[in-house]
């Protein structure tokens, strides 16, 4: 089992969201988290221009999650991706909240 470099996971995530959301897709951020059994997982946050409901249907969001999962498996990485969608406003608010 290979753990891919973060930049590769970010690229996989951006590719998946851009294929579905097109120009409405913005940035992507990847981190490592733990699932309910304390197994390492990827925490992926995807930025959208507007709120997710106006850009992506529920089926679209499932498709993006599966595309990322499939690309990771194909690259030999079995860590599970947890994907969160944030509008640009929420993304910016989160960034401001992190600033010292």
């Amino acid at each position: 089992m290979a753990d891919l470099p973060m930049k590769d996971i970010r690229a996989i995530s951006l590719d998946a969201v851009r294929r579905i959301a097109g120009s409405q897709a913005g940035d992507a951020e990847v981190g490592i988290g733990l699932d309910s059994s304390d197994e390492p997982v990827y925490d992926i946050t995807l930025q959208l221009d507007r709120d997710q409901q106006s850009v992506l249907s529920s089926a679209d969001r499932i498709q993006i999650r599966q595309k990322i999962r499939d690309a990771l498996i194909e690259a030999g990485d079995e860590r599970y991706p947890f994907v969160r969608f944030l509008s640009r406003d929420d993304w910016d608010a989160r960034t401001r909240a992190r600033s010292p």
């Binding site: 309910s36 059994s37 599970y80 947890f82 994907v83 509008s87």
Partner: protein, 165 residues
Amino acid sequence: MLDPHELIKVARALAAGPSPVDAELRRAISSAYYALFHATLKLATERFVGAPHRNTAAYALIYRGFVHNRMKDVCRAIDRPILGQRHQTLLQRTSVSPEARAFASAFVSLQALRHRADYDPQVAFRRSDAVDACDQAESASQALAAIDPAELTDILALLLVEARV
């Protein structure tokens, strides 16, 4: 009787206020997960015991026999384009249907989100997280109901029983 539809309604109502507070968002996420969890248990128990036997001990025992972690492990194992060897043997197929994958994918995601909503004080949830959780629970419940009956029975059995291969 526990009604998964009521849980989703409660979750959506909690997320729908003009400016929901953190506790409302966390309870919405948790309720959305439990809506899918109970929809799955209800479907399975009605299949294995039968809805007319709702008041029997067997119904209660099977319903309460489902374990969150085991369900997560099974869903994670079937949320892939081609099943691993162990699950190919257990399920006697090389892959699951798109509906089964959609259910499995949402179950894993929602359970993790619920865990964070209930136990992680550092996550700042947004309304979009709660709405996404509700959407995922509803889509997954619909996907679950749309799985071919034979495949559905196999998957529900695997969610319940620890198989030895």
